[in-house]
Amino acid sequence: MAEGFDISQIQGIIDAGIPQCRDIGVKVLELQDSGVTMSVPYDEKFAGNPVSGVLHGGIITTLIDSASGMCIYVKLKKYIPIATLDLRIDYLKPATPHEELRAFAECYRLTKQIAFVRAVAYHTDRNDPIANSVSTFMMQSTKSKPLNKQTVDAGDKS
């Protein structure tokens, strides 16, 4: 467990301050230095294929982007403003309708300016992934206050 981070605190920040994550039901399952796990429930209104009911890739993108950013905070053991530079997703197989989707993300290289992250999306088995992702993030992207210091105000506005 990273110092100063606990699941309910992070969940509170997401629910109060990150409208898109709250809206699709992102939950924090695990926060380890070695990686974080988050989930999103299945919802018909996020289907991308009217024939099969399979979730749209956009939901997978949002879940992976969220988990990828979070694993950097956990590794750093602090919040600093970060911004996604690029994110590649390979869709390995369709998600199964009506099943919760999970993403596991790990920051495998951290420099002063850039963080390198890999992530997988899956239902129950990380070794049987639905999607694989690599992404890079820019550190200290803005001069704004860290996220845990702002969500009280921001939560009111959203």
């Binding site: 301050g17 990150i18 409208p19 898109q20 994550c21 809206d23 018909e44 209104k45 996020f46 289907a47 991308g48 294929n49 009217p50 024939v51 099969s52 009911g53 979730l55 749209h56 890739g57 956009g58 939901i59 993108t61 949002t62 879940l63 992976i64 982007d65 969220s66 950013g69 911004a83 996604t84 530079l85 690029d86 994110l87 590649r88 997703i89 390979d90 869709y91 309708p97 803005t142 704004s144 206050k145 996220l147 702002q150 969500t151 921001a154 939560g155 506005k157 959203s158």
Partner: protein, 149 residues
């Protein structure tokens, strides 16, 4: 709208194309409806709009749209462009997408348009660009591959 056969959906796409009623896609694809995706043809170009909505915020302080939503919008624009312009015998399947985030996406209407870089018999490669106020200042671009047969 999940109780629909593949043939029915391809027929819906065909009819939408004949009527040039591009917003018909959003009526059948639930996630497009969630995005509020608006599709218009302007001077022969298919342009998608992601309307400003607070539920898309990922950074409450700037505020900025969530990177996942921006990626989702680019992927959706690519799919719309393909449905609107290509003859299809099956629904295209996305293989992969790479999104480059260039500027923070403000809480404003966002626009996107796609172009084909190659339309092969099996794989179609596309580039997509999204912008807000100024089309010459893209907020994000993407390159995506779709399996079409």
């Amino acid at each position: 709208m999940t109780e629909m056969s593949s043939e029915n959906f391809l027929q819906v796409i065909k009819e939408a194309k004949e009527a040039r009623n591009w917003n018909a896609f959003s009526q059948y694809i639930a996630y497009f409806e969630y995005l509020g995706l608006d599709v218009q043809e302007k001077e022969g170009e298919i342009i998608c709009t992601l309307p400003k909505n607070k539920k898309f915020i990922g950074n409450p302080v700037l505020p900025a749209l969530h990177g996942g939503i921006v990626g989702a919008f680019l992927e959706s624009t690519a799919l719309v462009h393909m449905m609107a312009t290509q003859e299809m015998t099956q629904l295209p399947k996305i293989i992969n997408i790479t999104v480059e985030y260039l500027r923070s996406a403000k809480l404003e209407d966002t626009y996107a348009a796609a172009v084909f870089t190659k339309t092969g018999a099996r794989v179609v490669n596309m580039r997509v660009r999204a912008w807000q106020g100024d089309r010459n200042k893209p907020i994000a671009t993407a390159s995506a591959n779709f399996l079409v047969s």
